[in-house]
Amino acid sequence: MQQDESLGRINATMQIEIKLLTGLKRYLPDPDLTGTVRTLEIAEPATVKTVLEKLNIPLDMPKVIMLNDRQGALDDPIASGDRVTVFPPVGGG
């Protein structure tokens, strides 16, 4: 019984929105489709790092991550419905 519950948790998935900008668009599922936004089904629990790994984005590639309206870090936890945006470094200020 306990084992089943545990299995159930491991198998649970959630939907999140991902957005990959400019040079990173090639890492999108179906990169040839239009737009930069996709819905991604991902196993719970997940972090930003899990999402990048699932998309095969090299973790050491210089990039900026937004998690919803905040800046995201690799170990930030992801919840269902979150929006993860990844884009190349930008300059200014």
């Binding site: 900026v64 937004m66 800046q71 930008v90 300059g91 200014g92 200020g93």
Partner: protein, 556 residues
């Protein structure tokens, strides 16, 4: 369209017709008028050396984010040509009034205010605002001239004619938080005896286009392009401060006097920390600096008691007064930014200058009180304050420091040249000196190959963009056809991407020609030698773009 020629000796204003279809504006207007009226060998602060202010080609129209205002002349910091631009409300107002440029020469013994509105342009005694810091002076000027004015003003640093002094422009909240920061443009304005320019365009409609339908369509395309650019949301939500993490991650965040490219305590400075503090204290992200802004990238920052401290707390300031001084707390950085805005000082140059004092034991990294006390010394005009207020190169000279983060006398900004080599080429070669807005290059940052070509194109397109008055965060420099369509429809002349590019090239040629006559030749187009030998942790990068290649940058 007109140009205002101000003779400060006679206190005389002459309004001349400016040829409507002569397509120079903003930085191009500085280049044009300085070439026409300025002597490259004159002292930058001499009466005959002109101070020039110019809105861009698209100012005063419905073109989005087109109110950047250029200020310039011969720089007391670099000794060469100088243009620095700023947001704020004045560019749009001057555009509406049909004023393409203000050229000021001569010197008034008594400080003056130049009042510009639809009826008249007159010089008036500055009176009790002389010696005042910027916020108080602007409040006084609003009482004197009405609440709807936009104010262009120099602070005490400009009055002291310090080589690191700014020209401030008031923002939509009427705060003098927008600064044409670099190269000592405040001192050039101050050297004429001009304390402020007060602009009022009340009741004046935006400019009519020669081809209204085409202009409307071109503006619509521009607006949609900006709205659809994903970077809009990034800058709106996170501010330019997004770069603290972005540059920290790639080893290009100047830390402890440019000795490191990453700051281990950067969390205290980053966007998320700013957002959390803003949410708790009533500050805000996402504010506009000019009418018609779609991106709205500016934070307004409050203290722990919920009182406004500063507006436009930008990445460059946070990096140079934070990480570069080993300071990991946004509160003191915001306080110092406010003091610099009050005094009219460029935060990049101040951060560089205090940073090098570590080399001679006059500053310990992380010492907030000492950093703040040095800025107060500038306020008081003490000899030490005046030294720091003269920029990093002068400061280093006075204290016998040989490791100077500067090009052509101007401090290197907050994207490290060694680990962003294309940007480094821009710092090395720009006629403006080390300037992060003169030609951004992000590609393949650690590879020296191909960076000269990238920097050349970026500098050409950026120069032309600076002529239009468009903000660099319209991200339109990459789609010059959209910009060219707006200019063509507004002025009713054929103007294409090729013209845009040729304008940028001609500007760089003019700027370089002025510099050469001023004694700043090709030999000045390089980064400091130590950047070629001292590795920058954590990437270990040195600047290794061959000088022979760099010397070819202006071959176009």
């Amino acid at each position: 369209m007109s140009i205002l020629k101000i003779d400060m000796n006679k206190k005389e204003v002459v309004k001349e017709v400016f040829p409507k279809n002569k397509l120079v504006g903003g930085r191009a207007m500085i280049d044009y008028l300085l070439t026409e009226y300025g002597s490259p060998t004159a002292h930058p602060l001499s009466p005959e050396a002109p101070f020039i202010a110019a809105p861009g080609l698209l100012a005063g129209t419905s073109a989005p984010q087109s109110g950047r205002m250029s200020f310039g002349g011969k720089s007391p910091l670099t000794g060469g040509i100088k243009e620095a631009n700023s947001g704020g409300t004045a560019g749009d107002m001057l555009g509406r009034l049909g004023i393409r440029a203000i050229k000021v020469q001569g010197k008034s013994d008594q400080w003056q205010v130049l009042k510009i509105n639809a009826e008249e342009t007159v010089l008036e005694p500055a009176g009790d605002i002389v010696g005042m810091e910027n916020y108080a002076a602007c409040e006084k000027l609003r009482q004197r001239y009405g609440k709807k004015v936009s104010v262009i003003i120099i602070g005490p640093a400009g009055e002291m004619k310090l080589a690191n002094s700014t020209v401030a422009v008031t923002d939509p909240e009427d705060r003098p938080a927008r600064h044409a920061g670099r190269g000592g443009v405040g001192a050039i304005m101050g050297s004429k005896g001009l304390k402020a320019i007060v602009v009022d365009s009340t009741g004046v409609h935006s400019r009519k286009a020669a081809n209204p339908d085409a202009f409307k369509q071109a503006v619509k395309t521009a607006v949609e392009t900006i709205q659809n650019n994903p970077l809009r949301q990034v800058f709106n939500s996170l501010g330019t401060n997004v770069c603290i993490d972005a540059d920290g991650d790639r080893g290009s965040l100047p830390t402890r006097n440019h000795r490191h490219g990453a700051f281990e305590k950067r969390k205290g400075l980053c966007s998320n920390t700013m957002i959390e503090l803003n949410n708790a204290r009533g500050g805000s992200m996402g504010n506009a600096c000019m009418p018609g802004c779609i991106v709205r990238c500016s934070p307004i920052f409050h203290d722990a008691d919920g009182n406004h401290v500063t507006s436009a707390l930008e990445y460059e300031t946070i990096a140079m007064l934070g990480a570069n001084l080993g300071i990991d707390d946004l509160d003191p950085v915001a306080r110092m930014d406010r003091r610099c805005d009050e005094l009219g000082l460029d935060t990049i140059e101040v951060g560089c200058a205090i940073g090098v004092l570590n080399d001679v034991g006059l500053f310990e990294f992380g010492d907030v009180a000492k950093a703040e006390s040095y800025i107060e010394e500038i306020a008081q005009g003490t000899p030490m304050g005046r030294i720091i207020g003269s920029g990093v190169t002068q400061t280093a000279k006075v204290f016998g420091i040989d490791r100077i983060p500067a090009v052509k006398g101007q401090g290197i900004p907050a994207h490290c040249a060694r680990s962003l080599k294309g940007w480094g080429v821009t710092y090395a070669t720009s006629p403006q000196g080390a300037d992060h807005t003169a030609g951004v290059v992000e590609d393949d940052p650690l590879n020296p190959v191909g960076q000269v070509e990238r920097s050349r194109m970026s500098q050409i397109y950026t120069a032309a963009l600076d002529a239009t008055g468009l903000c660099m965060f319209t991200f339109l420099a990459g789609t010059p056809d959209i910009i060219a369509s707006m200019v063509a429809a507004l002025y009713g002349v054929p103007w294409t991407t090729a013209d845009f590019e040729e304008l940028g090239k001609e500007m760089l040629r003019q700027e370089r020609a002025f510099n050469i006559k001023a004694g700043i030749g090709p030999e000045a187009d390089g980064l400091p030698d130590w950047m070629r030998t001292e590795p920058l942790p954590p990437t270990g990068a040195v600047f290794d773009v061959p000088q022979e290649e760099i010397d070819q940058l202006f071959n176009f």
